[in-house]
Each structure stands twice: as structure tokens, then as C-alpha cells.
Symmetry: C2
């Protein structure tokens, strides 16, 4: 639970989890004081961290090493919590999610035994030794055991970084640009979509001065020379797709402002309707289906009378609709939940998933069944039953 | 079994598997005639293939699409077999192994039910929906079910490609160069090590004219401009490490000759001692430990009186010692097996794995226990028991 609380600053997830836990009289285990970086292997590009070590704390520790850990869900989450929830975020399009960046886990199993998913002390790049236990525990949302240490893969820190924004005449044009950039093998580090409502909110909240239009925020990592080429190719592609207000931010301060604005999108959205809470959807679809689902979602939003904005990791096909809800208005909360469920089903109909990175928790258990089918859910239940036969770990979640 | 036979052209693995299967009176299911490419989603960078589709057949099909599938174990293996065995090979340093490139699997479970590990028809880039069943079945070596279709992630075909070779004064210098190239974030596509015995064998077998010395074979993918920079950086690094006989191969024919030689290393090694069979080891260690284990392995080889050469995916820390053995000489076969086991234990002592990509099969079951520990093996056994309670699938393998 502690892991989930640290890693889950999105939406109502921690609040819902916490309420359910309380209602059932469960125990929360707080691992935040286990906050040591246990081992750093610079030549091997790996590090072992305890649950209290956050993403920012690790990157501060790595500052002068030439390496960094790129998975960035926005919040300064616990890295073990990020492993438990298969977190991803803005850099996943280039560096992968936690699934690709966890090399080993130390897990306390429900019966108290200590499991090292890849074997004690191991931190190789690849292996074909038996079942992929690491992969099974990443994203298991605390339902199979308590993660007490995580071995992570590190990456070389980029020599140089450039960020950019560009505005588009339509959602379709922004997403088409994304597909073309990926097809051209431009190794873009971040490619984030914000709809015009979200841009307007970010302009107000973070004092930006961007066009109020469907917008891409991009970031490129590489050598100076490689960046020049990436920028040039990207500029050609977005201009072919009708982009305007194209601007680069090469200075660290300007870039920081831009990504702070992106990371504060949640709070910017909340500020659109003071006193309200946010409720975030999290579908992910094959990228070719992204324009239609975003356009349809915007139409549904207008029809529903709900207030919401859209922001997303468009390079992965994953986007969030941040809905604003008065927590004292049960009728409105019902409409928000119905909207989110309808959006989840729409993503499933387009061969997508109901959750790209936030997880199932309590709220998406029905959608999980529709997503993976009866045999998939039965298989997951078999795994849960054999690894946690008494149902002790994060009970009621996921399945 | 059919999958394993197609995917496992290394070493004695298929032979041993087959003998064991025969002795137990099992059934082999041949899926080679299921050879359709079921679905190609160019915009989504994904494809669905049946078990009879091989790596080369898929890439031939993709030839004019601008996309390709990069995982390349050398042999023209079945892609579903490659999923079953978590294959990797020469491109893994840049594009990952099968673990990172399988998006979904269709699996016939032991009781005949059909499982879609990510849900029927789904081919998204990422998901946090429940347990990672895809990850569990990739590399399960046919012990949990029969894979009848695999959804793969495709990559943009590189605009241009350059290969290179360079000779080094020592193993240490070759591996140091590898670490420095990775640290400099040069996105090298292939970086392969061949010791002087292997180089000599390749010179003879594939009519190359390379120095008989520890050698790196490299390949770079990118735009013309990006390649120039990658080449320049790499050249600086290898020269700082004392490389000589540095040569680039930009023409397709010259490159093909080089990689054909690398892929034929197995046969080149066999030709060193006509009439013998090959036995391949497969350890993988943290890259910082690679020089010491390679140097020690060469000393052990000399001391053992066995004939063997070394070739490896040095960017992943994975190398193969190809030992030549007279199959009619039981004493020599015993020495070969003892050597391989000792090498496996040496890798384990250096925080490595006994198998980077060939799998456990029958021969490495004891080493698997030492690698993942008692709790790890018990957990794997629990998974096997719950998913295949009657022990029908590839019995006796892995656990």
C-alpha cells in the first residue's frame, strides 16, 4: 500500500484504495524509511534501491555519474512503487516503461519467504533462465508480495537536450505527425499531446504563452549534431502536417518551465474548476486508432456536460482525460464514472487497453475481464491463488 | 517441441531434447504448416504471425514496408519458437530481445483452452492491466502451453547501415571499448566479440582476411548523417583502446559477407576439427565482469586440453564458448560438460546467468536452482503446477 500511495498521485486511485483498505480493516505497511541506494554499478548501468528511494532522489544521486534513470511518471514516486504499478510516463516512447527497466526485485512473499525474482544479487542485461518472475511481479499492484528492493537499468545521460512545442489545426494532424516521426525513426525522447482545453489551462496555471490549440510537446536527447538532425526532420514532418507556432527551447531553464507545465497539467486542470477533484482516465490504443478515439472522446465530453481536458503520451497511444468532479455531487460522480467506463470500452473495441499505466486497482476490475477475456482472468486468478492462497496481499485489488 | 526444434539450432540442445522426449514416449506437435502472417498493422508497428513463419520470411514480407523485425539469433528460426525460448542474438543491444518485442501471444493451454496473453486481438504498445501473462509465457520453453500465434513489435527499417571490424591487442581492450561505446550513448545496433581462435576459424571458413586477434564486429543503423557521427565517435573510442586494422564496410555486399561470416561462426568452429560436434555454452554476466570471465575461460580452455573458440554478444555481456567434441568419446564429452558447468558456476559467482539466450532445457536445471535460489525455483514450480497440473507440456524441461 505504501508503495501504491507513493506511486499513485494520479486520479482518485490512492484515495479509493485507502478507503477500501480501511473498510476491510487491513494493514498498511509503510516502507518509506527503507530509503537506501544499496548498490550502484556504473559500468554495468544498474542500481539497487529500497522502497523509500524516489525517482528524483535517485537522479540527484546519479547527477555526476553520466547516467540517469529515465522513467518519469511526473510525480516524484517511489521507484519500488513504480515497479509495483508498472509506471511509465513521458519518456517511455524512447526508454520504455518499468517493464523494460526493472532487472530484479526483492519481494517478501505472503508467507514471509524472501524471493529474488532473478536470483540474489543478479543484475545482468538479459537471461533465458526459467520463468520471468521479474516480469510477473512488475505491475502486480502489491497483490503478490511486498517489494523491498528493485534493481534498475540505468541509461547514459543525454549529452544535450532540446524541447519543442508546436500547435496543430486538428487532433488528427498532431497524431499523424507523431506516427510520421516514429516511422522516420527519429529517436524522440518525449512526445506529449495536449488538447486545446489543456493548453488553455496550462497557459493560465503555468504562465505559458502557447496557442490554444491541439499541441505537441516534444523532447530530443543526443549529441549536438544528432539533435540538429532530429530537429530538422521533425520540423519538416510537423510542417507537412500544418503545424504552426513551432518553437524550440534549448536552454535548460526554458525546458524546465515547459516540462514543469506538462507535469503540472493535473493541477492546471483542477484550477479550471476550483473546489473540484480530478478523475483521470488512462486508455491506450494502437496509435493508428488514436485520432478517432480522441475526437470521439471530445464529442462525448461536450455531450455529457462534464468539464475535462486531454493530455497524453501520444507516442505510446496512451492518453488521459482529466475530468473535474464535485466530490459532494453523487450524480455528477456517477456521470464521471459512466463516462470513464464508456471510454474504457471504446478503447477495448479499438484493440486497446483500459489502462496504459495507472493499473486496475478496484475501479477497472470489470474492464480487465472484458479486456483479457475469461481465460485470461482465470489464468491471473490461478496465479494469485497459488502465490497468495490466503488473499493477504492488497486484497480485493485487480482481480 | 516443434517450436523448440526450429528455434534451437545451437549446440546439442535439440538433440538432447529429442532423445529425452523419445525415451518418455511423448508427443511432438509440428506447427510448421501454420505459416500465415495473420495481420500486419503498419501504422501501429505490429504484426501477428503463426508458428510456421520464420524470421527471414517475415522480413521478406516486410521488405517494401519501411519496417522490419530486428531480433536475430542467426538461424532462420520460427518467430513463435523464438518467443517460446526468449531468443535474442546480435541486434539485442539496440532493439532488445524477444522479451521486449512480443506484444501478445495466442496459447493453447494444457487443458485445451485458448489464452490470449494480452487479450484477444490486442496490440498496444504498453499496458498496466493485470498480471503480465505475455512476459510469463515468453521464455517458458514450451512448458506452459503451445504458442499458436505471436504479435510482434516492428521497428522502422534503418535508412542506412554501416558495418565495421576492428582488432584489439587484448580481450580487455575489446571489452573496455564496448563499455565506452555504450557509455557514450552511441546507439550501436550490433557489437560482437570474436576471440583469436574464432577469427582464425572465420578467416578460413568464410574467406575473410581479418587479423587473428580479439576482434569486434560492429553495425550501426541510422541516417547517413547520424552514421557519420556514430562512426567517428566509435573510431575515437576504439583507437584510444589500442585497436588496429579498423575497417568499415558500407556496401551491402561487403556487410553481408561479414555478417554471414559471423552467423557461420558455428560452422567455422566445427570445421576446425572435422567429424566433431559442437557444444555451446551461453553465460551472460554484468558487462564489467566480462573481461575477467573471458580471460579466465581461455585459460581454463588451454588447461583442459579441449578445443574451443569464443564468440559473443558483448554489448549484453553474453558470450558463447563453442567446444568441439568427438561424440563417440564419452570421456571427452564428460570433460566438455564439466567445463560448461564450471563456466556456468563462474558466471553465477559474478552475478551473471547460466543462460543468456539458449534456455535451461534439460542440461541447466541444476544451474537454474543455483542461479535463482530455492525460493525462486519453488515459485517457478508453483506456477508450472498450477498452469500444467498434469505435467503434459514439454515434461521434464526447465524445472
Amino acid at each position: 500500500m505504501a508503495q501504491l500511495l507513493r506511486a499513485s498521485t494520479w486520479g482518485l486511485f490512492p484515495w479509493r484504495s485507502y478507503c477500501s483498505q480501511k473498510a476491510k480493516g487491513g494493514v498498511c505497511v509503510n516502507l518509506m524509511q527503507m530509503d537506501q541506494i544499496l548498490e550502484l554499478n556504473l559500468e554495468d548501468f544498474s542500481v539497487v534501491v529500497e522502497p523509500g528511494v524516489t525517482r528524483k532522489a535517485l537522479n540527484t544521486h546519479l547527477r555526476d555519474s553520466g547516467l540517469w534513470f529515465p522513467v518519469d511518471p511526473g510525480a516524484d514516486a517511489s521507484l519500488c512503487g513504480m515497479a509495483a504499478t508498472a509506471a511509465s510516463g513521458t519518456n517511455a516512447v524512447r526508454y520504455g516503461t518499468m517493464r523494460e527497466n526493472v532487472l530484479n526485485l526483492e519481494v517478501v512473499l505472503p508467507d514471509g519467504r524472501l524471493l529474488h525474482t532473478a536470483g540474489p544479487g543478479r543484475h545482468f542485461r538479459k537471461s533465458a533462465a526459467g520463468y520471468n518472475l521479474t516480469g510477473l511481479f512488475v505491475g502486480s499492484e502489491g497483490t503478490l508480495g511486498l517489494i523491498t528492493a528493485t534493481t534498475l537499468r540505468l541509461h547514459p545521460a543525454p549529452e544535450a537536450t532540446v524541447a519543442a512545442t508546436c500547435a496543430f489545426p486538428s487532433v488528427q494532424a498532431a497524431v499523424d505527425s507523431t506516427v510520421h516521426i516514429l516511422q522516420a525513426a527519429v529517436p524522440v525522447a518525449r512526445i506529449e499531446f495536449l488538447d486545446e482545453v489543456m493548453m488553455d489551462a496550462c497557459n493560465r496555471y503555468s504562465k505559458l504563452n502557447c496557442s490554444v490549440a491541439p499541441t505537441l510537446f516534444l523532447e530530443f536527447h543526443g549529441s549536438q549534431q544528432a539533435l540538429e538532425e532530429q530537429l530538422q526532420r521533425t520540423e519538416e514532418i510537423v510542417q507537412q502536417n500544418g503545424a504552426s507556432d513551432f518553437s524550440w527551447a534549448k536552454e535548460a531553464e526554458e525546458r524546465s518551465q515547459l516540462w514543469a507545465a506538462r507535469h503540472n497539467a493535473w493541477y492546471a486542470a483542477l484550477a479550471l474548476r476550483p473546489g473540484c477533484k480530478g478523475y483521470s482516465t488512462d486508455v491506450c490504443v494502437p496509435i493508428s486508432r488514436l485520432p478517432e478515439i480522441v475526437v470521439q472522446t471530445k464529442e462525448d465530453l461536450n455531450a455529457s456536460g462534464l468539464k475535462g481536458s486531454i493530455v497524453g503520451h501520444v507516442g505510446d497511444g496512451n492518453f488521459h482525460c482529466i475530468l473535474l468532479v464535485n466530490p459532494d455531487d453523487a450524480e455528477e460522480l456517477g456521470r464521471v464514472k459512466a463516462f470513464a467506463e464508456q471510454l474504457g470500452r471504446r478503447a477495448l473495441a479499438l484493440h486497446g487497453t483500459c489502462t496504459g499505466e495507472h493499473g486496475i486497482g478496484l475501479g477497472k476490475r470489470q474492464l480487465l475481464q472484458e479486456e483479457v477475456g475469461a481465460v485470461g482472468v482465470e489464468t491471473m486468478r490461478q496465479l494469485k491463488a497459488v502465490l497468495d492462497p490466503r488473499g493477504l496481499m492488497n486484497p480485493g485489488k485487480v482481480l
